[in-house]
Symmetry: C2
Subunit: 117 residues, 2 copies
DNA sequence: CGAACGGTACGACCAAAGTCGAACTTTCCG
DNA sequence: CGGAAAGTTCGACTTTGGTCGTACCGTTCG
């Protein structure tokens, strides 16, 4: 076998995609994948992005993203290559990846007004 | 006063928007608002959508959506009118609302993963 | 004025989700 | 064959955040 099970793109709902993207670690990972292309858990694009978590946690997030239809995992000998499902995502949710790309690392969250009066 | 404080659209990050949309109740509410236009908490578009929650919970979700920059609340006498920030959202996240609209109520979550083996 | 209505604020509760460490699996290689 | 490398699985812990009830505030109207 050379592929890990993933959902058919037609069965992917935006509800699940939004939930998957709602976690900061996963969002960081998706953005990094978009930039880096193929990736293995061992590589430290996450650490470079300031995220330091255990490998079982990484594995968990990978699974969530895969189940949500966002990424694909191919088995390559001793390791697994992870990639974004560009074409599938563009077909089903056109513009979504571009949106994430454009609004990357918008760390301007500081400004938060709120409260009524 | 006729407006409740809301964040300027330039300060709204997609991270926060995604988190706000990741909850099923809020997603239902946003979709209903998109269809219904102006709305007050008293009106039962939520119940019609099959969501029955207490009014303090509704208030909480409204606040989350407002803080995330998705909706606007105007004070009209004894009640508050809630609307989507169509223009602001279209300016900052073009296509986002259309995407939610198009993938409304995709209740096909049952679906099976494509198996390989 | 005072009661009723529409909604918010606060605190407590509980379920869902993120995190970790350790054990296990598979593959590669000496 | 045995050991190391790369990930996954499992169970337990902790944090997050959705929910509720109640108290509270501002507005309208009798």
């Amino acid at each position: 076998m050379t592929e890990v099970i993933e959902p058919a793109i037609e069965t992917v709902t935006i509800d699940v995609v939004l939930s998957a993207l709602a976690d900061p670690v996963r969002l960081t990972l998706v953005r990094a994948l978009d930039t880096a292309g193929d990736w293995t858990c061992g590589s430290d694009i996450l650490k470079e992005a300031g995220v330091t978590i255990g490998k079982s946690t990484v594995s968990h997030h990978i699974k969530v993203l895969r189940d949500a239809g966002l990424i694909r995992t191919r088995v390559d000998g001793i390791r697994r290559l992870v990639t974004l499902r560009y074409d599938d995502l563009e077909q089903r949710f056109p513009g979504l990846l571009a949106m994430l790309r454009e609004h990357t690392a918008a760390r301007a969250t500081a400004a938060a007004p709120t409260s009524s009066a």
